[in-house]
Symmetry: C2
Subunit: 639 residues, 2 copies
């Protein structure tokens, strides 16, 4: 069952021309508080200003002024891809303006756009790092130059603005179109048969095509996607899989290579496959998603176990202590999964999105939104050193959040995701509305056949497992609710406005309530929020015989600030279930007797473990907030 | 008990001025065959020619000709440190000439020295990559320039030549001294307070001081060592620990950062500490050695678990599938341990050397000595692709040995180690001779008090555990034999020439036989060679609940070419001991039922394992010789 979509575009980041589900945008869904509402607040209040300030002080935004003044390359600062951070910042601003209608942010947005526009060459080319005397020529370094990657982010920013402020006179869409036209001329069917070393332009072009109706952009995205795997980029230390130029998207069995590149390419490939009704390509992407989730994804939803090349490892290669799990890879994974969800309607995609939101996206920013994890380790073996809030970190991996990085892709990626999060909550199809993420929200929309639907979502999820959907409009429609895969004993109740209904068990997957709703009718989903031990597939060598503790969608962690000593010495007693007490989750843990001065490989069996104590865990997304600490998600078990 | 050494220097790579043990060189020890004799043969016959050919064809040796012709930087090829490979090649040639007296190799050696000497600047500076118009200035990039590192290898080459051919007229020692004099002038107490980003010049200078008697070189080595930890090198992504500039050598608790740099620095530090009677520094090095071996060393003796920065990880961070275990780090570890052994006499140092020789140094070269592992993983998750013998690999990590690398430090490092291996077999002290490694050998030396000692070592170790030491001279002296730490039920027997003695149990450590030897008297050590399961300390998360199989000093591995399917699916039955059968070691292994299409983290317990089969293992140093294969050293156990 596939729906043709003809109604006006919602204010949302990905709007396929067809698919089982249609996204609801910021115009239809408003997050009204709770876990994510607070984070959106902090993002809007602190993070955006923090990013804007850093773009100025690091010189990355001033690079555009130097370009406009014609004085480059003198004075250019930042890495070759620094333009892209400005574009992601613009995208984040566009969504935030869409969400809040903040006039100051709109002024900021327009001012930044003007500086970007002034830097564009007359033929549409736009990059502060290439093409001028004293710089490398345009497109001369497709492996590492990131020119098309940067433009992809420019396109996504322009799309965000056009979706939220259609026909705005700020000029960003024209800048994007001029650049896209140049890309089509340069890299079209009759142009260079080349691709960019970092995928992103594909998803940007596909979305730009959707927003403008210009089919050339979609065709160009298709060309770039089909060219992956032809080996047009040169072999490097990590092989061409680093940039997904080893195997065609159509033939690949699994995501591989650089995890951000892989996910961005997959997201763009879904867009192209959907628009061109390419079932073969979609099947390839389904296969890749499944195997990647089954074998190459951390319990947090994080992806990528190699620091060196920021890449996926092989199947089952998921060391928690060397988890790279780049924040941007989490964002990319959400982009990929969301597009698959819209097309297929399978709640597994929303399950992964939820997991990744709570345990990667929420983990990256500090409580005040002014410091970030770039990489998200699952096991910190030595505590870090306090971070100077004015510093710029040369390190991607760290034990404490840093205010900024030499490569600072993650902060604006988190910002644009949080600012657009309302658009990942719910969808519609011919029958009604589907809720994919549980947040306090106000939702008002029109179904394809014209039926108006309005309701509120009331919940303190994930602190509490109750989700109450209360109708604010009258009428018959179907409410779809996702029961997460971990919710093995969830219950559902329909409370008519006049009373209380019967509770019934619902299984993980999608549950549907078809009803002639009266105003005030409530559907109550109760998700089981008791903490639980989770065990890994024994093929994941690095965590064999260890358990994690989860509670709802949150992965928990043991920190040395709670344990009192190095978490290396912890052994968990799995015969005692973890318990909720005083607002925290506690486990029974023993300290292994200290050794470690001898050769550590011996005949004979393990030493005994005694003297357990109860220790509270912390939500993984909150770890590292109380100063330097060691930390582990997977705790060895004494079974 | 410390011995002052005054007799002429043996033909050996490290000759401290004092210490409990004095090395015997190539002049006293001759390996006559067996495991290492074969490898020395192949090294001399194939590897040296292979390296020489590659140095020519890659342009790294011709760079010296371009320098001499004054045409650089035009045409320079190779990385900034490529000069060092020529120096290590020279060192390997010097030892091989010392070992075999081969006149063709001597011609080659002289020809290469002449080309190197012609490239030296009049003031002693020698580097093809710096200092000319169009190149970066001398010493302008101490973090990455490797100029002093290269000179350290030049010094080691000159030392090898002077020890094996004292007073040779080839000119290498003069080249080295001129360069060393320049280093002392530039970096002396009144010069730049700087260090090189890659340690090596320290050990080179210390040895050059020993061979020339010039105390300035020792003092310069001491200065460089004391300057580590002062932060004179800039902070980088991986921190200053990468080049051991984070903490002083004296204060450090453990080896850390880049594993080759760390070991080279430690080796040089032992040299300086010994010569300057610096017990404080020696204690620091003992402490670092112990903790590094207890917590940061693979079962193979390999060191370094980070690919990105080729570095040690934190304590217990020893993932087998991401073992970097660079071959050069193994060589560096042997340099460090050997120096500690000479000073302290503790057989633990020789234990680690043996382990590293059999499982890192022997693993790197292929059977024909013309291809190499650079990194030595302990778990290969996907089979590699056949390697073109004419290619140069851009990759350090690989599933198959490669003929050459863009960074090709490892092949000449293996070559110089194999060519000088006779000098790591035995030592003397006031009482007699100590055997540290068991190889068929002929040994003839003079004790400090003038007693002549001659004997043969007869053994097929490690194929067989019997080591027979047969006296070829008459006289009273003490034979020291190392009983490896794994040899928990070794026996010793003294067979006088006239009969057979009583067998007695000997414990791991050092066993001594003091005797008035008659010609033909034999001391027979029987080491237990039954294969054994070895279990890791449970803190090494990545191999928890797994076992390795060892036999004597050899670590064994399971290869998919024997298992018939991916080694990820193997579970070993530890209730059945591994057995020797038909010349191979067999274990009982089950195949875990295939899964892997679902989310791999679940409540509930592990799936059962059934249907075991007996599978033969392969010596780890032989893995990858039968074509593409997956491989693992640590096999999950079903306990």
């Amino acid at each position: 069952m596939t729906m043709q979509i003809t109604t006006p575009a919602p204010h949302a980041p990905a709007i396929p021309g067809r698919g089982r589900l249609r996204p609801l945008g910021q115009d239809d869904v408003r997050i009204t508080g709770g876990f994510w509402g607070e984070r959106q607040e902090i993002n809007g209040r602190n993070t955006l200003a923090h990013i804007g300030g850093r773009l100025e002080s690091e010189g990355w935004l001033p690079n555009f002024d130097l370009a406009a003044a014609g004085t480059l390359p003198a004075g250019r600062r930042g890495r070759e891809f620094s333009d892209s951070e400005t574009y992601k910042y613009l995208e984040a601003l566009a969504w935030e303006i869409g969400r809040t209608d903040d006039p100051d942010l709109d002024k900021t947005f327009r001012a930044v756009v003007a500086r970007v526009a002034a830097a564009q060459d007359p033929d549409g080319y736009l990059n502060t790092n290439f093409g001028r005397p004293g710089q490398e020529p345009r497109w001369s370094n497709l492996e590492w130059g990131h020119e098309l990657y940067c433009l992809g982010h420019l396109f996504q920013a322009a799309v965000a603005r056009e979706r939220t402020r259609p026909g705005s006179d700020d000029g960003l869409l024209a800048v994007a179109r001029a650049a896209a036209d140049l890309v089509c001329a340069e890299f079209g069917a009759d142009g260079r048969p080349a691709i960019c070393g970092h995928a992103e332009v594909e998803v940007g072009l596909a979305e730009l095509s959707r927003v403008t109706g210009d089919e050339r952009y979609l065709e160009q995205a298709r060309l770039f996607i089909e060219r992956h795997g032809q080996g047009t980029l040169r072999d490097i230390e990590w092989g061409r899989e680093y940039y997904q130029d080893d195997v065609s998207v159509r033939d690949a069995e699994v995501l591989r290579g650089h995890a951000v590149r892989a996910n961005y390419l997959a997201a763009g490939s879904v867009d192209v496959a959907v628009e061109s009704r390419d079932e073969d390509l979609l099947n390839a992407l389904r296969r890749q998603w499944s195997r990647t989730v089954a074998r190459r994804t951390y319990i947090t939803g994080g992806q990528g176990s190699h620091h060196q090349d920021e890449a996926f490892g092989f199947d089952w290669e998921l060391p928690p202590d060397r988890a790279y799990s780049e924040t941007c890879a989490g964002v990319g994974s959400i982009m990929f999964s969301w597009r698959m969800l819209l097309n297929d309607g399978d709640p597994r995609y929303a399950d992964l999105i939820e997991r990744t939101l709570y345990n990667v996206v929420a983990t990256s920013p500090s409580a005040d939104g002014r410091a970030f994890f770039y990489a998200n380790t699952l096991h910190q073996r030595e505590p870090g050193s306090p971070v100077d809030p004015s510093a710029t970190s040369p390190r991607a991996g760290s034990a404490l959040r840093a205010p900024w990085f030499d490569v600072s892709c993650c902060p604006p990626n988190v910002a644009r995701t949080l600012a657009s999060l309302d658009a990942y909550v719910a969808t519609v199809d011919d029958t009604g509305v589907q809720l994919h993420q549980y947040v306090p929200a106000s939702i008002e929309t029109t179904l394809p056949d014209g039926r108006a639907v309005a309701f509120d979502v009331e919940t303190e999820y994930p602190r509490d497992g109750r989700v109450r959907v209360v109708a604010r409009s009258e009428g018959e429609w179907t409410l779809g609710l996702r029961v997460p895969s971990w919710a093995s004993d969830a219950t559902l109740r329909i409370d008519p406005v006049t009373g209380t209904g019967e509770e019934r068990r619902v299984s993980p997957g999608q549950v549907e309530v078809s009803r002639a709703f009266a105003v005030g009718d409530a559907v109550v989903l109760d998700l089981p929020m008791h903490p639980r031990f989770t065990r890994p597939d024994a093929r994941i060598d690095a965590i064999r015989s260890a358990v994690a503790v989860e509670r709802g969608p949150e992965v928990l962690a043991l920190e040395s600030v709670d344990f009192g000593t190095d978490v290396s010495d912890a052994v968990v007693d799995v015969s005692t279930a973890p318990v909720d007490r005083d607002g925290r989750v506690w486990v029974r843990v023993a300290r292994r007797p200290a050794t470690g001065t001898e050769w550590p490989y011996r005949e004979g069996s393990a030493e005994p473990v005694r003297d357990t104590v109860d220790v509270p865990l912390v939500a993984y997304h909150e770890w590292g907030e109380r100063g330097p600490s060691t930390m582990r998600v997977w705790i060895p078990s004494a079974e």
